[in-house]
């Protein structure tokens, strides 16, 4: 099958590549662009390790063809920190609250939690759990992940109040 061009913006940079239509977005990011933060986990749309933010939605990039993301704005874990390297509130929260053990699920967790907090800036613990229900962690038992998201929400909200 012939390759076709695909254009999108990934972590603020415009990219253009020729791809086979069957190339999945996760492989496009990892193998064509060298963006290896999103992980290949279950490959069956369950685990959420491949989660990226695509046009304001949390998406499992193993279940989307790169060609379906034509023109999209994509943010991965690589795009979460400030330009000067300062960690985002969520990244800091996962560090402070020990929200990871092996770390394999963490890029997906943080990327998903990023969108969750944009949609619901002050979630209850139950809303955090439902909001992250598409992301599996096999190490932590989720307690510290919930705490990490709570930490980030509190920090972001405190910053917002201070600014007002």
């Amino acid at each position: 099958m012939s390759k076709i061009p695909v254009k999108m913006t990934v972590n603020g940079a415009a990219v253009e590549e020729l791809v086979e239509p069957r190339l999945l977005l996760i492989h496009f990011l990892r193998e064509k662009l060298g963006i290896t933060g999103p992980h290949v986990g279950c490959e069956t749309s369950h685990c959420g390790a491949c989660t990226v933010d695509l046009d304001g939605k949390s998406v499992k990039s193993c279940t989307v063809f790169a060609v379906q993301a034509e023109g999209a704005q994509i943010t991965t874990i690589e795009g979460m920190a400030e330009a000067d390297g300062t960690l985002s509130a969520l990244q800091e929260g996962f560090m402070q609250e020990h929200g990871l053990q092996c770390g394999f699920c963490t890029p997906g967790m943080i990327t998903r939690a990023h969108r969750l907090l944009l949609e619901n800036p002050n979630p209850t613990d139950e809303e955090i759990r439902w909001g992250l229900s598409g992301n599996l962690c096999r190490c932590t038992g989720y307690q510290n992940i919930v705490k990490a998201v709570r930490y980030a929400a509190d920090k972001i909200n405190a910053g917002r109040e201070a600014a007002e």
Partner: protein, 288 residues
């Protein structure tokens, strides 16, 4: 897991998409949210030579109220169903059901049209549509027709949708004022299909049930509109005996097969429990 090769098309109008479908016949498949089709393609259970992406078709989007019905474009995502204040006000069972489908990521992509058109007996919206007396608007190059959800499903993955047709919208008669609705789903974990699920809509007139509809998910090769069970409630005060009879008839209508979710007898039992709970909640929500 790498899907088989295919040629990718991104038509700019429904007419163009229909022309592509007509040209490629059984080698063509439309893709909406892709969260049923892409996993099938990765497993090579589906290998369309031509993939026709509906993403740019604005005609297939949007939620409207018109002429006593709710019309929901096929490309409306489950997330958009959940966020819709119009649907929450007029037909809250849709939000309740959408929240039980898969997980947040899947719901951002998965569409209502895909959920009802795919023919997977595990999908939740088909039984809800049967319960609500909805119909599907479908188009091919020569015109449009409307198929009642209760007549649409023929077998697992077999539906009344022709090879050259696209399901463009779902039309739901506006539920009567005061109708109580509920969807009860037993599942093993987030993201799983139902072990058993039941959709119920009913109306009360004074203390008497004046209208009722019950439909079942994943309890047979197709969603099941449990007509006799529905009728058992009508005219009753939803007393214990009437509900028990509806539960018995719903179990009789169910035709489950054994799988990892349990043996057939267990699922039939669970079907009755789901019906009982959904009737109780629909009743609480109905205003007399």
């Amino acid at each position: 897991m790498i899907p088989g090769p295919f040629e990718y098309h991104r038509p700019g109008s429904v007419d163009e998409a229909l022309a592509l479908l007509a040209r490629h016949g059984e080698d063509g498949r439309v893709i909406a949210g892709g969260h049923s089709l892409v996993p099938m393609m990765k497993l090579r259970l589906a290998a369309p030579a031509h993939l026709i992406d509906l993403r740019n078709l604005a005609e297939l989007r949007g939620i409207r109220e018109a002429d006593g019905s709710l019309e929901i474009g096929a490309m409306t995502t489950q997330h958009e169903v959940i966020e819709s204040e119009l649907l929450q006000a007029l037909c809250p069972i849709l939000r309740e059901t959408a929240l039980m489908i898969a997980d947040p990521q899947v719901r951002y992509c998965g569409t209502l049209g895909g959920n009802v058109a795919n023919g997977d007996p595990g999908n939740d919206m088909p039984a809800v549509m049967q319960c609500l007396g909805a119909s599907y608007l479908v188009r091919n190059a020569s015109g449009q027709r409307e198929i009642p959800a209760r007549d649409f499903y023929e077998g697992a993955y077999f539906t009344a949708l022709g090879e050259d047709e696209i399901l463009t919208a779902v039309r739901i008669p506006r539920p009567p004022e005061g109708q109580g609705q509920a969807y009860e789903k037993m599942k093993r974990k987030v993201g799983d299909y139902a072990t058993a699920a039941a959709a119920v809509a009913l109306s009360l007139d004074g203390g008497t049930c004046s209208q009722a509809a019950i439909a079942l998910t994943n309890l047979g090769q197709t969603p099941i509109f449990a007509e006799a069970a529905s009728q058992a409630l009508v005219g009753s005060s939803l007393d214990e005996a009437a509900v028990a009879e509806a539960v018995r008839l719903a179990r009789e209508a169910a035709d489950p097969v054994e799988d990892l979710r349990g043996p057939a007898d267990f699922k039939r039992h669970a079907a009755g429990v789901m019906v009982q709970r959904a009737v109780a909640r629909a009743r609480e929500r109905a205003s007399a």
